[in-house]
Assembly symmetry: C2
Homo-oligomer: 137 residues x 2
Amino acid sequence: MLSKKTKYGLKALTYIAKKEDKSPVLISEIAENENISRKFLETILLLLKNTGFLASKMGKGGGYYLIKDPKEITLASLIRILEGPIAMLPCVSLNFYEKCADCPDEAACSLHKLMIEVRDNTLNVLENKTLHDLTFD
Amino acid sequence: MLSKKTKYGLKALTYIAKKEDKSPVLISEIAENENISRKFLETILLLLKNTGFLASKMGKGGGYYLIKDPKEITLASLIRILEGPIAMLPCVSLNFYEKCADCPDEAACSLHKLMIEVRDNTLNVLENKTLHDLTFD
DNA sequence: CTATTAATCTATCGGATTAGTAGATTTATG
DNA sequence: CATAAATCTACTAATCCGATAGATTAATAG
């Protein structure tokens, strides 16, 4: 299951992307409209800024704004930042690979094979959907 | 990511299913062969017993054995017991549905729609693979 | 130059979950 | 009765999650 951090992050980005004008959006505005704890949302937006999805402006007229085209931001890339691995096991993760301590032979592990299949099916959706796709309903 | 509990549970069941004879398998034997903490494995096997996948026999010659045909046990059903929801959000879970507190209108939520798609892709794999499929490599 | 606005930084915090451990008890076999 | 094996009860340490409080820095308007 996705953490609230991830869910809130995706909703906040969708909220920002939905605004056609490029003027900065207030944390408070997003928090209120999406029913997210304001302070919690602060840390999430900061993360998205530090990882290159958002930029911000301080002071009056400030806020957060996108620095990429929503069509270029895959949901897979967002989930990897917000949540971490998309795969069900570390040993089948493309971006967060880790060997299973208990597994002597990965190639012979039937669980490994299964989880690769699950991963590929999930990625097939998440790599081909973008933030732009979340902006209509 | 799946918890170790889930991973160990699936590996233990696979281990038991691989044995052609129906004689009970010792916890210790599974623990040693699959590199699982013995005490932790105890609780996992007990859970699988209480949920109708395994039966056990106490005392000498005892152990755990399957009470269903491995071909009849879908991996989805096992993961639901061991891990919980398969869906990425409670609001798209078939077996563990919960309304999102922050979401006023589920039908209008674009995240909701996306996660249904991910769920269906995952289930398509997990509902169609069985414990039997894990017994070859 | 000052007041205001808004993001940023630092520091906690309670509660839940995870992955285990310890030890006593019950049940079955020979 | 001795032994083997699952079962039950009860902890624990470490980590993470979601959230909060308060001080600080940066930008703008007047």
